[in-house]
Every structure is written in C-alpha cells, then in structure tokens.
Amino acid sequence: MKTRHIIPAALFASALLSTLLCPGAHGQSFPSGKPSQSTAKLEAVQYLYPEQVTLPAGKTSPVALHFRIEPGFHINSHAPKDDFFIPTVFSIPADAGVKLETASYPPGADFVLPADPDTKLSVYTGNFTIQARLTAEPGDHLVNAKLRYQACDRTACMPPKTITVPIDIVGK
C-alpha cells in the first residue's frame, strides 16, 4: 500500500476506533445527575466484584464475593438474633451451569437502635464479603446469582429485596 493511502486509512480507522471506544459521546448513555426513582431504590446493597472468574471445570473452587452497603444503612447478617428477621442469603439458580457448594458468611456485628439500647442486632454495615465455593461446568456461564437481604436505617426498615449478582464464570 502506498504511503499516501496509508495515512487517510489510518486517520479513518483511528476516528472509527475512538468513536467506538468513547461511548459517553455517542453510544451507551450514562445516568444523568438525577437518577430515576427505580434505580435509586436498588442501591441499598451493591455487588462490587468479581465480574468475571475462571475456575477449573468440575473442581470446587473458592470465590470471594464483595458487596457494599450504603452508608447509614445496615442489613441483617446471615444469622440474625430474632427469628422474625430476614437473613442475608446468597444463592445461584439451579440451571446456571455453576453449582454453589457452600457459602460462608461473615459474622454479624452487634448493632443497637437508638430507641432500644438493650437489644443487640446482628448486622452487616459497610463492605462485606461472602466466601463461596463453586463448581463450574466446562464453558462460559453468565450466572445471575441472587442476594436476598433486608435493609434498615436507625429508625425504619425497607422491605426485603433480592438483587441479581451477575458473574461471568468460565469453567476451563
């Protein structure tokens, strides 16, 4: 290819590439400063990472799953002290191509409501990690795992919620 042909081709290619890699300017839209109500209501607990893991196929392997709770809120631990309270539970659907063998939850921290200093609750606040042991079938599995929790602040509680925890799990 002649040099004079290379330069325009390169400029065209670079312009195309930068366009594709700059979704903020063209393709994918980002949330504006004022998120929708429904989006905001989903945020009491957020899944942080990993987004993708590679595991030896057929062999049970540990995976640490990291979550974040919004400041000012707490959720019940996996073992709340009151039978009426809803525990935090991680699960994976049966047909996901990945089996959840065990999930090990962190111990809850003692928490006291200002209006009831005598009662200690077992909760998670801030960041917490669930240690899962997974067995993946060979192949690439986009797993929509679930985390069920129930969040409160110091005076009120929100209804229990089940959020999707998307993880791309590759069994090799």
């Binding site: 040099t3 390169a10 300017a25 989006t39 009120a156």
Partner: protein, 221 residues
C-alpha cells in the same frame, strides 16, 4: 533501483509505525475517557441514591411531609387474621392510629408495645388502632414455603406482641393511596372527622406518639 526501493520500504515502515502509534494513543484515550465517565457516573448515582434512601422521617422533623396531611384518610377494606373484612369507614367518629408494620421490621417490634399501652390508655376517649401488616416482600408465587412461613409469622408476631387491636392483612395493596409505604413502620394519625392530622415514617418515641394521639383525640370534638 534497489536503493530507492529500500528507502521506500523504510519510509512505509516508519509511516506504519507512526500510524499504529497514533491508533494506540486514540484507543488509550478513548478507553481512559470511557473509564473516567463511568466512574463519574457511578459517583453521581451513589450520591443521589443515598439521598433517596433516607427512609425515616415525619411531617415535623425536616423530612418532606406526607402528601396525605390535611386530607381524608383513603378508604380501605381488608381482611383481618380471621378472614373478616374490616373497613376504615366503620371507624367513623373515632380518633384513629393507622399503623403499617411488618414482621421483619425491628423498629415495628419496638414500637408495638407502646401502641398497645397507648391504646389502653386512650381507649376511653374514643381512640382506636388499626394495625396493617405490609410485608412488601418480593417472594415469587412459586416460593410456597416462604409465603406460608410469612403468613405464620404474622400470626406469631401478633400473639407475641399481644396486639389486641384489629390487625389487617394485605397492606401492600394500600401503598399507592397511602403515599408509597416505602419503609416500615409508617403511621397515620386520623382525627374524628377522618382527616390525616399527622404522619410518621420510621420510629420516633412513645412520647412523640402520645403527643400525636392527644392531638387527634382532642381534635374535632
């Protein structure tokens, strides 16, 4: 001839190298821009959603007042634990506390004994309480054990907390007319004329509840 070709080859190689370098810079700049915008958007979303999630509040503590204040309490007819239908209209002329609660709600469990005591204390003055269970659960219909456990939990809670006042089921159906019911407990204080005089989302204190009850017991007389 061979020399000229060699020079042309070198020049082409140089141009190709420069082109690839430019492409790499563009790609890096595009990716960096994408990451920057993504992080900025996440920060904005996190800040905004935190503000949205502050659930507790009442009409008199700086939070937005309930849209029902000063308006007639929306009518309803729900079943109690025995299956009997109870309607709001049957409480005409009473000073009424409509208390939305849920079994999984710690603050609800905390304020329920206060409500039981205050009801006994002010019953002679025409004060009554309606407790409305509002589980707001996202259990799918297929989760039969989960739903059965929930129903049992309501009855157990009522018994354990000695709730002698009417407790109705299906409060989730009233979320829209009662302003969303986004957090529990949520209470509405209704005067004898049926007007919502005060509202409270989240727990306050027994004294605060009593002050509001005094207001509705005295109002409209």
């Amino acid at each position: 001839m061979r020399g000229a070709r060699s020079i042309r080859l070198k020049r082409n190689s140089f141009v190709l190298f420069v082109t690839l370098f430019v492409l790499a810079v563009f790609a890096w700049a595009g990716w960096a821009n994408y990451e920057y915008r993504k992080q900025a958007a996440e920060k904005v979303l996190a800040a905004a959603s935190h503000a949205q999630l502050i659930a507790a509040g009442s009409s008199d503590d700086g939070m937005p007042p309930s849209p029902l204040l000063g308006k007639p309490a929306p009518e309803f007819a729900l079943q109690d634990l025995t299956g009997k239908k109870v309607s709001l209209s049957s409480y005409k002329g009473k000073a009424l506390l409509i208390n939305f609660w849920a079994t999984w709600c710690g603050p609800c469990k905390l304020e329920t004994p206060w409500i039981v005591q205050l009801r006994d204390q002010y019953a002679a003055q025409g004060f009554e309480v309606i407790g409305i269970d509002s589980e707001g659960d996202d259990l799918p219909d297929s989760d039969k054990p989960g739903l059965a456990k929930q129903k049992t939990a309501v009855a157990d809670f009522v018994q354990q907390e000695h709730m002698q006042y009417p407790v109705l089921l299906g409060g989730d159906n009233l979320a829209q007319p009662y302003g969303g019911l986004e957090a529990m407990p949520t209470s509405f204080y209704v005067d004898r004329k049926g007007t919502v005089v005060a509202a409270q989302m989240g727990i306050s204190s027994k004294d605060d509840m009593e002050a509001k009850i005094r207001k509705i017991v005295g109002a409209g007389q």
